[in-house]
């Protein structure tokens, strides 16, 4: 347990020190990454990119039926 705790502590300190002593460009790109991920997952994913089949049909059977309908009847 002590060895595990020590390993976790080492990994934590490794990352903590890394982020703490990060250069200006590192901080800048991390800011960009965070803004980008917020835009992609909180804005685009939630409001603009719903999964069409998941949001319109309740079960895989309904989704299958719909797609078969599209494949056989839609031209």
């Amino acid at each position: 347990m002590t060895r595990l705790t020590s390993a976790i502590r080492s990994v934590f300190l490794f990352y903590y020190e890394g982020f703490r002593t990060m250069s200006w460009w590192g901080k800048r790109v991390w800011l960009i990454i965070l803004i980008k991920l917020c835009i992609i997952f909180l804005l685009l994913r939630l409001f603009f990119f719903p999964d069409f089949l998941k949001s319109n049909f309740r079960s895989d059977r309904e989704r299958s039926d719909y797609v078969i309908e599209q494949l056989t009847g839609n031209k």
């Binding site: 460009w25 800048r28 719903p50 089949l53 797609v67 494949l71 056989t72 839609n74």
Partner: protein, 518 residues
């Protein structure tokens, strides 16, 4: 079709996917190429103990980090688009796409994310060899990530290793081996990854040339040019070889794309390879498609036949053969493929009706047909043709494919020359006095990006109208959503990606100007 530039849902969805993929691909090849260059440089540092090599490695690692960070997650948007804009396609491909992408996700997360952190935070904190191993693992991990994406993409061009389940309307993988060893996947992986190596090398040679032009960091610049020059030369020769192999595979599995790349309308033996040419309207038509003449043509006689069949008198089919059929050469006309596709679709319709009315015997019998090899080979493999009314609809935009291909290949040979000159001038210690070369190298950086994007344009535009070769055309794959919604997200993407690109370029330019000392 998008070439008509109407504002339909299909065209906006295609435009959005193209935009996202093109932007995403601005970041990926530099990651692929630069990561290996870093690994080479750090290996030299560890072996020699020369601190200059450490400084050089750290400088290029900074540029790698900026590119890596800005590019992260831009590919995820493509997956969003699959679910929203291309739901029929997403459902139809089933787990074929899911499995490789899941492996890619795990690899990318565990290998790249973990070892990238060691690469950047680990200097002086972990042992030299462990750090070096991390750098190599990032490089290998980046290429392996690309492998899985390319396997999925290759399946769309040559669907193998699956069976269609009429009950779920999904393709189910029945041979992972066939999917991963798909000849298109092998060619695509080797060609794409090595082209990324070339781009990374051109980038390093170009930026190093800028330092030499400014009389700054000359030791770093010269050493970087040597490493990138050698790696670039080996990689660009590999690109040429893998491109040759890829062309042979395309000629076999996507002959219409191949004929379009060559603007070859009449099939022939001893077919020549057009090096340069200008397409003009011949006045003739295949259906509604223009037949082009090639003017100002420079051709290598017989080479196309040799490249595709291994024999000078080998027959290379043209678009007319492929559309109208050529019984002598065993080529089925597209009209026949349309009929076979319609038959396969009728079996699916009958299956669906039998299931709806509860006719279990017919349901079982019709369902079993999709498992029969004879039905798969002779009918289901043409399933996608059932959407077409006219044979000429299978022809992609010949000018786009023809010119993109020539420009890409031309740039590929130009890069070989660039690397030969870089190595040669380095050996003679005349890099600084050949300032023309340094300028050429600097302006070659955008050309490397252009060549890389052109490769994808040839691949994706050349296989139109298919989203899955022979099984599903693009217009059958799209979701039933409003074109306005796609237009809105298209505009959002233009803003988002342009902002990201400006951010990357500005941070990178600032860091390059700062040089390795900062």
């Amino acid at each position: 079709m998008i070439e008509n530039i109407d504002l339909s849902l299909v065209n906006w969805s295609r435009a959005q996917f193209a935009l996202t993929a093109i932007y995403h691909w601005l970041f990926v090849p530099l990651t692929l190429g630069l990561s290996f260059i870093l690994a080479f440089m750090e290996t030299i540092y560890v072996r020699t103990g020369d601190e200059v090599w450490k400084k050089i490695t750290k400088f290029w690692m900074t540029l790698f980090g900026i590119n890596f960070a800005i590019g992260v997650a831009t590919g995820i948007i493509l997956e969003f688009e699959f679910g929203t804009n291309w739901s029929n396609y997403s459902w139809f491909v089933g787990d074929i796409f899911g499995a490789p992408l899941a492996v890619e996700g795990l690899l990318a997360f565990f290998m790249e994310s973990t070892f990238v952190a060691v690469m950047f935070f680990g200097w002086n904190k972990v042992g030299k060899k462990f750090h070096l191993a991390s750098t190599w693992l990032v490089a290998i991990g980046a290429s392996l990530s690309a492998l899985w994406i390319l396997v999925a993409n290759a399946w769309m061009e040559n669907p193998v290793g699956m069976i269609f389940n009429p009950d779920t309307a999904r393709n189910e993988m029945n041979s992972f081996r066939d999917v991963i060893l798909n000849p298109v996947a092998i060619d695509k992986f080797t060609h794409t990854v090595t082209s990324g190596f070339v781009l990374g090398s051109v980038f390093v040679v170009g930026i190093s040339s800028w330092f030499l032009l400014r009389h700054r960091e000359e030791v770093m610049a010269r050493r970087s040019i040597l490493v990138a020059g050698i790696f670039g030369l080996v990689s660009s020769l590999a690109v040429a070889l893998t491109g040759d192999s890829s062309a042979r595979t395309i000629a076999r599995v996507q002959p219409v794309k191949f004929a379009s790349m060559e603007a070859l309308y009449e099939g022939k033996t001893e077919a020549g390879l057009t090096v340069i040419g200008a397409l003009t309207d011949s006045g003739e038509r295949i259906g509604e498609k223009t037949v082009h003449d090639i003017k100002m043509k420079i051709e290598v006689p017989g080479l196309l036949s040799i490249m595709t069949t291994g024999q000078e008198n080998g027959y290379v089919p043209g678009l007319k053969d492929l559309v109208n059929g050529n019984p002598e050469k065993g080529i089925i006309p597209v009209s026949e493929m349309i009929e076979r596709g319609k038959y396969a679709r009728q079996v699916l319709i009958d299956y669906k009706m039998a299931r709806e009315i509860g006719d279990e015997a017919s349901t079982a019998a019709l369902g079993a047909r999709f498992m029969e090899q004879e039905f798969i080979d002779n009918y289901f493999r043409y399933f996608g043709y059932s959407w077409f009314d006219h044979p000429w609809q299978v022809i992609p935009s010949v000018p786009v494919t023809f010119y993109s291909f020539r420009l890409m290949v031309g740039l590929g040979f130009f890069f070989i020359l660039l690397f030969v000159l870089a190595i040669s001038f380095h050996r003679r210690q005349t890099l600084e006095i050949n300032r023309w070369f340094l300028w050429v190298a600097l302006f070659s950086v955008p050309l490397a990006y252009l060549a890389s994007e052109l490769g994808w344009i040839v691949t994706e535009m050349g296989r139109q109208p298919w989203i899955i070769q022979n099984l599903m055309p693009v217009n059958a794959a799209v979701s039933n959503i409003s074109a306005g919604a796609v237009q809105t997200t298209f505009s959002l993407f233009v803003i988002l990606f342009t902002a990201l690109l400006i951010a990357e370029v500005s941070i990178m330019v600032r860091q390059i100007k700062n040089g390795p000392k900062h």
